[in-house]
Symmetry: C2
Subunit: 296 residues, 2 copies
């Protein structure tokens, strides 16, 4: 039976890192702050916001809600983003998506400053992930996969990583992050002709297909590490992933469960990104003060 890669174990050490960073920032007079930008009152958004707030506050991060009515015009939303860009007390901004249909989501996301884009929603962050330049942040879900691998000491270098799915939220950025860790990376998708053959060759199999149970026993082989990004409500009403856990877990070496795997780590990653954004802004300001002192 496969070893379980548990979100709660990853969170324990990740949260410790975040808590200590937040405490150091507070000592320096900075309250790391996340603004959650929400349009309307969708129950999903409200539930997420409530959970994120609780988790962030427990780690020493302030959480501010910026709420616009569901019928808000695009200009109002852009103005709200601009205000958050300018507000030096806000270090990270999370836009709850999808935005209402009458809003140009790409335009609004693009308006956010990359430095505050803690969930990889802007083109600038995407360029940062693609180039490895360090600008912006990777999407939290993609980064959560990497945190799980890191926590369990799974080295990617030189190993074959296969990513199933090519979305901009998980598949593509995860492929880039794995490449940065020197894995040999293959990206599969709905048009892949020989999925079974390709996935069986993986050392690390990261599944972000967005469809329940697409990976079964036939897709995996012994010794593999399986990271399951999917989350769905199964026919039996229970949560399940993209991977058929019962079929796959007897074969592979290690696997993330659903629930309790990748999904449970994303909020901790978000908090890590907020403290990191605050730290970068602080260092940037310090170095500018230093330069100014040198100059005059």
């Amino acid at each position: 039976m496969a070893k379980l890669l548990l979100g709660k174990e990853v969170n324990a050490s990740l949260n410790e890192r975040v808590r200590s960073k937040a405490a150091r920032l507070r000592e320096a007079g900075i309250t790391p702050t996340l603004a959650i930008l929400r349009v309307g009152e969708r129950p999903d958004d409200l539930a997420y916001e409530k959970g994120a707030r609780k988790r962030h506050e427990a780690l020493g991060i302030d959480c501010r809600s910026v709420v616009l009515p569901a019928e808000a015009r695009q200009e109002e939303l852009l103005a709200a983003v601009e205000e958050l860009n300018r507000d030096a007390s806000v270090h990270g901004v999370l836009m709850l998506r999808p935005l209402p249909a009458h809003i140009d989501e790409r335009l609004v996301c693009g308006a956010l400053r990359a430095e505050k884009d803690v969930d990889g929603q802007t083109e600038a962050s995407m360029a940062g992930v693609f180039t490895g330049s360090g600008v912006g942040f990777a999407p939290c879900t993609a980064q959560a996969c990497m945190e799980i691998l890191a926590h369990y000491g799974i080295d990617c270098a030189g190993r074959r990583a296969v990513v199933v799915g090519r979305s901009l939220i998980v598949g593509k950025p995860a492929a880039m992050l794995l490449l940065q860790k020197n894995a040999t990376v293959t990206v599969c998708h709905t048009r892949t002709a020989d999925l079974v053959e390709v996935t069986r060759q993986a050392d690390i199999l990261l599944v972000a297909a967005g469809r329940a149970g697409v990976i079964g026993a036939e897709h995996v082989s012994e010794g593999q590490i399986v990271i399951d990004v999917g989350i769905h409500v199964g026919a039996d009403g229970r949560l399940c992933g993209d991977v058929d856990f019962d079929a796959v877990s007897p074969v592979v070496e290690a696997i993330t469960p659903v629930p309790g795997g990748v999904g449970s780590v994303t909020t901790s990653v978000l908090a890590e990104h907020v403290t990191e954004a605050a730290l970068r802004m602080y260092r940037d300001r310090q170095s500018r003060i230093y330069i100014r002192q040198e100059t005059f």
Copy 2:
């Protein structure tokens, strides 16, 4: 013996497309124009510029040189880029690189408007390649590989493409372009543990390792399409690629020669990007005129 995928055959049809686009633009009163921004008088740059000018002018594209002295300050270079951004008669800008060591190349490249970035040098173009948004242009060399595949009717969908090399100029963008064409894409690099095993599984093998002869007979198998991006001066003084042509060509189905392969197509791709940039600007202006007419 492998079929040769010849740059000159690709150029013949690509140039026809460019020539016809340029003629249509000229009929609409627009002279498609490339500005080449050069710092100093490096012989490599001068040779490239001369060749590019000749090729572009033959296709009906104007070519303007903007030259700064080798010791130009960064601010002067940025001012030159800004002027080219503002100049509505310039549709594409190519910065000859590497820029001198005292220049922050990323900053200067980043200052160029993505719409005029005909060689994928800006972060905005890189984000465009990564997301598939259509903003900016892919680097010409990566695009040249795709033009060769397209010209010879090689369908990528569902097939396994293996890219050797992960540079921002070729490897990574080529991987993204192959993914857009629905290939199952693997990226290999210097840290790949089992290069022979991985490359042998390719249907399409794109080699952009930047090292002469890294791909030999042992890396390839029957039926493969091999695209060789490398160009080096061999020990015998002859030009050669990343692929050991003499060893590989008897095994595979088709291969690009060096010289006369990928490298010979890049300038035609550049010209294609310049006419496309001019066309997009023209359409954009027309639609704005149309909107203005509707509004008033």
